[in-house]
C-alpha cells in the first residue's frame, strides 16, 4: 500500500471513528478548542501588554538602562517601593566619569542623571488660611480686603459655633467644648473683629492659637520627587509633557508637579470623591449600588458639606443656596438660617446614586468648583519642600511651582504619575549635600565656637573621666543686662537660578541611559558593565524592566500565570486523550484484531489512532483560534478597560486595544494539535499491540 493511499484510508477510518465515538471526540475537541482560544487570546494580550508597558516605563523615567551604585543596599525600584518607603540605592558622587564612560559607547544616545526622594508638605486648615489672608490684608492696610477677610472669618466662626454645639451633645468632657464656645464667643463679640484696622497682635494671636486649631488638622502629605537635568530629560523622555503652567526653564530652580499626585493629594477632597466615582462609573461602567468601593466613596462624599461651606464667603454661600434651590435641592427646612439651610441642601446634593450622579457631577464642576480652591497648590505658587536627609534630619527648601506634568497616555495612571520633577541642584540641597560656600561658612562658625569632637562611644570618659577638665558648676556674677537683639542683616530670598554648569557635574543617585538602537539593549548592557568595570567605577547596570521594580516583573508574572493555566488545561487534555484512547482500544479490540487479521500492520493501527487525535485536534484548535481571533477583533474595536491604576499603567492608558496577531492565531492551533498528537503516541502503541488471535477470542 502506498503511503498516500494509507493516509487516505487512515483519515477515512479516523473520520468514521470520530463520528462513531462522538462523545469522546466532543470532549477532547472542546478541551483543545478552549486551550487554543486561551492561548491565542492570552499570548496576544501578553505581547500587547509587554509592548505598552515597555513604552510606559522607558518613555517615562526609566530609559532603556539605569545605572546606580554597587554599594546600594536596596535594588533600584523606580515604580515600586520607592514611593512609600525610602530605599537606599547609594549615590554616584560625581556624574562626570560615569557619563564619559556611558557616552563613549556608540549605541548610547543620552545619559540623564537622576535622584529619587520624597518630601513632606505641611498644611494648615481653612481657618489658618483665612487668618493668614486677614493678617496680610491688615499689613497692606487695604480696607476692602480687610472687610472681606473679616467677613470670611466671621462666617467660619459661625460654622465652628454650630459644630461645637453638635459636639457638645456627644462629648464626654463638656468643659472642653464650653471653653471652645467661650473662645468663639470672644472672637464673635462686638469690638473684637470689627475694630481690626491694623495688625493687632494680641487679637490675631488669640485667633491663631485658640480658634484656628478648632478647624481640625489636615494630614501631612508626602510628595515623591525626582531630581534631574530637566533639559536633557525633556529631550529624551517622549511621554513627558506639561499639561498646565509652563516647562521648567534650564538653569531655573523649581518644581513640576506630577498630575496624578496633585489630583490624588492636593485636590480638595469633595472634588476627589466626585472624580473617583466618575472614573469608575464612566471608564469602567461600575455602578454605585452594589460596588463596595463606590458605595464607600459615595458615603464619604455625602459628608463633605462642611469643607465646602468653610471655604465660602457669606455672599457665595447665599448665592450657592439659591442656585441649589433652582437645581431642585431645597434642603430640609428652607426657613432656617443660611448655614443650617445650606448644610442641609449640600447634604442632599452630595447624596448621590446611579440615577443622579452624572448631573450632580457636572453641576458640581460648573457651580461649586469655581467657588472653592480646587487645588492646594497651583502653578505660579511657591511651596516649601521638607525632605529628610539619609540620617533623618530635615532640610527645607522653598521652590516655585512652574507647571503640572503628565506622561502621554498615562494621565490616569497613579503608578506613573506620582513623582514630581525638580531641578538637580535643588535635589542635591534637599538630599543634604552642601555647596562649597556653605561648607566654608560652617567651618568658620564651628571654629568661632570652638567645639571639640567627641564620639558617642567615649563620650562619658571624655566629658567626665579622670583626665577631663570637667567643671560641673561655675558662677556668672549676674545675668548680663542689655537689650536683646537679633536683627539679621540678610533679606532671605528664594533661590531661583543656578549655573547651568552645576548640573553637568556633581552628585546623582542614579542615571537613565537612552539607547540609539533599543534592539541591542542586552549587548550594550554587557558592554557598559565591562566599560565601568575597566574604569574602576562600581555601578550596577540594569535594564528598564529590572529598574522599574515589581511593576517590571508583572509581565513575567502574567506570562507565568498564563503558561501555568495553559499547562493545566494541556495536562488535563492529554490525560483525557490518553485515557480515551486506552478505553477506546479496549472497546475496539475486535475491530483492531480484525484489521490486524486481514493484514493491517502495527504502524497502520498507530497511524489510525494518531490520525483520530490529529483530526480532532485540528478541528478543535482551529475552531478555538477562530473564536480567539473573533474576540480579538471585537476587543480591538471596543478596547479592554483598565480596571485599576496598575492595569492602566500596564496598558499604557485607560484602555488596551489589542492587535490582531496573525502569527499567534495561525501558529497556536498547529502547535496544540502537534502536542496533542505526539502525546497520544504511547496510547496508540498500546492499541497496536493487540494480537489478531487475542481479539478473535474476545466476546462481543
Amino acid at each position: 500500500m502506498r503511503l498516500l493511499e494509507m493516509i487516505t484510508l487512515i483519515m477515512k477510518v479516523a473520520f468514521r471513528n470520530l463520528w462513531l465515538y462522538r462523545v469522546k471526540t466532543l470532549v477532547i475537541g472542546t478541551l483543545l478548542c478552549l486551550g487554543t482560544f486561551l492561548g491565542v487570546i492570552g499570548f496576544s494580550l501578553l505581547r500587547d501588554v509587554e509592548g505598552s508597558m515597555r513604552e510606559s516605563i522607558i518613555g517615562s523615567i526609566a530609559g532603556h538602562l539605569q545605572i546606580y551604585s554597587d554599594k546600594a543596599k536596596d535594588d533600584l525600584a523606580l515604580f515600586g517601593g520607592g514611593f512609600m518607603g525610602r530605599s537606599d540605592i547609594g549615590e554616584l558622587p560625581d556624574i562626570v566619569p560615569y557619563r564619559e564612560v556611558a557616552m563613549a559607547n556608540p549605541n548610547v544616545q543620552a545619559f540623564v542623571p537622576m535622584g529619587l526622594d520624597m518630601s513632606l508638605l505641611g498644611r494648615g486648615n481653612e481657618m489658618d488660611e483665612s487668618l493668614d489672608l486677614l493678617r496680610e490684608a491688615l499689613k497692606n492696610q487695604d480696607p476692602v480686603a480687610i472687610q472681606t477677610r473679616i467677613d470670611a472669618v466671621r462666617f467660619q466662626l459661625e460654622q465652628l459655633k454650630k459644630e461645637a454645639a453638635e459636639q457638645k451633645k456627644l462629648a464626654a468632657d463638656v468643659a472642653i467644648i464650653e471653653q471652645r464656645e467661650a473662645d468663639i464667643a470672644k472672637a464673635e463679640a462686638p469690638g473684637f473683629l470689627d475694630d481690626l484696622k491694623t495688625v493687632d497682635e494680641a487679637k490675631l494671636q488669640f485667633l491663631e492659637t485658640k480658634i484656628a486649631p478648632l478647624s481640625g488638622e489636615k494630614t501631612p502629605i508626602y510628595l515623591g520627587y525626582i531630581g534631574t537635568d530637566i533639559s536633557i530629560y525633556q529631550k529624551n523622555f517622549s511621554k513627558f509633557h506639561v499639561i498646565e503652567g509652563q516647562d521648567l526653564p534650564p538653569g531655573q530652580r523649581g518644581i513640576l508637579l506630577a498630575h496624578r499626585a496633585r489630583e490624588n493629594f492636593l485636590k480638595v477632597i469633595v472634588a476627589r470623591l466626585f472624580d473617583r466615582l466618575n472614573k469608575r462609573l464612566v471608564a469602567t461602567n461600575i455602578k454605585i449600588k452594589g460596588d463596595a468601593e463606590n458605595e464607600r466613596n459615595a458615603a464619604d462624599l455625602a459628608r463633605q458639606y462642611s469643607a465646602i461651606i468653610s471655604s465660602l464667603s457669606r455672599d457665595q454661600a447665599s448665592d450657592l443656596s439659591k442656585k441649589l434651590t433652582d437645581f431642585g435641592i431645597n434642603g430640609a427646612k428652607p426657613d432656617q438660617d443660611l448655614i443650617t439651610h445650606l448644610t442641609s441642601q449640600l447634604k442632599e446634593f452630595l447624596t448621590v446614586n446611579d440615577e443622579n450622579f452624572r448631573a450632580r457631577h457636572e453641576w458640581f464642576y460648573k457651580n461649586i468648583a469655581p467657588l472653592i480652591k480646587l487645588y492646594e497648590i497651583s502653578p505660579g505658587e511657591t511651596i516649601t519642600l521638607r525632605a529628610y536627609t539619609r540620617s533623618g534630619y530635615v532640610k527645607s527648601l522653598p521652590l516655585k511651582v512652574y507647571g503640572v506634568y503628565s506622561f502621554a497616555g498615562l494621565e490616569d495612571s497613579d503608578l506613573a504619575g506620582q513623582t514630581s520633577i525638580i531641578d538637580l541642584v535643588s535635589f542635591r540641597e534637599l538630599y543634604g549635600k552642601m555647596t562649597e560656600a556653605s561648607q566654608k561658612e560652617l567651618a568658620e562658625m564651628r571654629a568661632q565656637v570652638g567645639i571639640k569632637d567627641i564620639e558617642a562611644s567615649n563620650a562619658e570618659d571624655a566629658l567626665f573621666g579622670e583626665a577631663s577638665q570637667a567643671q560641673i558648676e561655675t558662677r556668672s556674677l549676674e545675668a548680663k543686662p542689655g537689650p536683646v537683639e537679633a536683627v539679621i542683616n540678610i533679606k532671605p530670598t528664594i533661590p531661583d537660578r543656578f549655573d547651568l554648569d552645576e548640573v553637568t557635574r556633581g552628585l546623582a543617585l542614579n542615571a537613565a541611559i537612552k539607547l540609539k538602537d533599543p534592539s541591542r539593549l542586552a549587548q550594550t548592557q554587557e558592554e557598559l558593565i565591562q566599560a565601568f568595570k575597566d574604569k574602576g567605577l562600581g555601578v550596577r547596570v540594569v535594564d528598564w524592566q529590572q529598574a522599574s521594580g515589581i511593576v517590571g516583573q508583572m509581565v513575567n508574572i502574567m506570562r507565568l500565570v498564563l503558561v501555568l493555566a495553559l499547562g493545566v488545561i494541556g495536562l488535563v487534555t492529554l490525560v483525557i486523550i490518553n485515557n480515551s484512547i486506552i478505553v477506546g482500544t479496549l472497546n475496539r479490540i475486535r475491530e483492531i484484531g480484525t484489521m490486524r487479521a486481514i493484514g493491517a500492520q502495527k504502524s497502520f493501527v498507530v497511524g489510525l489512532f494518531l490520525g483520530e487525535t490529529c483530526v480532532t485536534g485540528l478541528i478543535g484548535s482551529i475552531l478555538g483560534a477562530i473564536l480567539g481571533a473573533v474576540v480579538l477583533v471585537l476587543l480591538s474595536k471596543v478596547g479592554i478597560p483598565a480596571v485599576n491604576d496598575v492595569v492602566s499603567f500596564l496598558f499604557s492608558g485607560p484602555r488596551l486595544y489589542p492587535n490582531i496577531r496573525w502569527d499567534i492565531i495561525i501558529a497556536t492551533p498547529f502547535v496544540i494539535t502537534l502536542v496533542a498528537t505526539l502525546s497520544s503516541i504511547y496510547a496508540a502503541r498500546l492499541a497496536a499491540r493487540v494480537q489478531p488471535a487475542e481479539a478473535m477470542q474476545e466476546k462481543e
Partner: protein
C-alpha cells in the same frame, strides 16, 4: 534660739547631705531631688540666650546653626530665631501654649506644626530650650548611686504620669551628688528602646533678680541619637540674659521684623 522643728529639719538635712553618697534616696527624697532640679533651672522672669547647634550625621555630613532663644514662662511662650548660616537666617519658631508656628522668611509664610517637631531638623527639640517640668510631668524612682567618670551620681528613673503629653515616656537621669546638676539623661520609648542620650558637661549658675535666687543654665548639651547611631548634636549656650524682654516680642510680627 532655734525652734525645735527647725533644729530637727536642720539635723535631718545635714545627715542626709553627709550621708548622701552612702545612702539610697527614699521616695520622698527622690521627688524632692527632681523638684530641686526643676526649681534650679526655673527662671521666673524672661529668658534669652544665644545657642549654637552643631550636628553630625552618621554619613559624615555636618550642619550648624546659630540662633537666639527667647522664653517667657509666665505666658507659656517660647521662640527661636536662626541667625546663621545665611541659608537659615531669619527662620524661626514661635510657640504659644500648645501651638508651634514655623516662619519661612523667604516666603514670608507661617505654618502651624506639631509641638514635638524637632527644631530645624536637628536632634534637639523645643523642650531642650524649655523650662524644666520633670516633677510635674513624671513620677520619679530612685535606681541607685553610681559613678559617672570621676563623679558620684544618683540615678533616677522618671516615668510619664498618665495623661501627660511628653516627648519621651521614660527618662533616666544621672544627677551629680555634690552639685545636684544633671550630668546625663537618657530617653526611651514605652517599649524600653533607648532613643537618645544627652550629656550636660557644664552648668552656669547666675543670680536672677526676678527669682531672687540662682538660676542654673547648662553651658553645653551633647545629644547622641541612639536610633540613628552616629548622629549627634551639640548645643552650646552663650549670653544668657534673665532680664525682662519687650512685651511685644513673642509675636509673629516681631519674628518677621527681625529679617527685614
Amino acid at each position: 534660739m532655734l525652734r525645735k522643728g527647725t533644729a530637727i529639719l536642720g539635723v535631718t538635712l545635714s545627715v542626709s547631705l553627709l550621708s548622701g553618697k552612702a545612702l539610697a534616696l527614699d521616695e520622698a527624697q527622690t521627688k524632692d531631688l527632681i523638684k530641686l532640679v526643676d526649681e534650679r533651672q526655673r527662671a521666673t522672669g524672661d529668658y534669652a540666650s544665644v545657642v549654637f547647634i552643631d550636628q553630625k550625621e552618621k554619613d559624615g555630613s555636618t550642619k550648624a546653626f546659630e540662633a537666639r532663644v527667647y522664653r517667657r514662662d509666665a505666658d507659656d511662650k517660647w521662640m527661636i530665631l536662626f541667625t546663621k548660616p545665611k541659608a537659615e537666617a531669619g527662620k524661626g519658631y514661635l510657640r504659644v501654649e500648645k501651638n508651634l508656628f514655623l516662619y519661612e522668611p523667604a516666603l514670608g509664610k507661617w505654618e502651624r506644626q506639631t509641638e514635638r517637631a524637632s527644631i530645624a531638623g536637628t536632634n534637639s527639640r523645643r523642650d531642650d530650650f524649655d523650662e524644666s517640668r520633670l516633677s510635674i510631668e513624671y513620677e520619679a524612682k530612685f535606681i541607685g548611686d553610681e559613678k559617672l567618670g570621676k563623679f558620684g551620681v544618683h540615678r533616677v528613673k522618671l516615668t510619664a504620669k498618665p495623661g501627660v503629653d511628653v516627648a519621651s515616656p521614660i527618662v533616666e537621669l544621672w544627677i551629680d551628688q555634690d552639685s545636684k546638676n544633671i550630668l546625663k539623661r537618657q530617653e526611651s520609648a514605652l517599649s524600653g528602646k533607648l532613643l537618645r542620650t544627652t550629656y550636660y558637661p557644664g552648668w552656669d549658675k547666675m543670680f536672677s533678680k526676678s527669682k531672687g535666687s540662682d538660676v542654673y543654665v547648662p553651658k553645653e548639651i551633647r545629644v547622641f541619637d541612639e536610633v540613628e547611631k552616629g548622629n549627634s548634636t551639640t548645643v552650646v549656650l552663650r549670653d544668657v540674659k534673665l532680664d525682662p524682654l519687650d512685651a511685644n516680642m513673642f509675636t509673629k510680627a516681631w519674628l518677621e521684623s527681625q529679617s527685614r
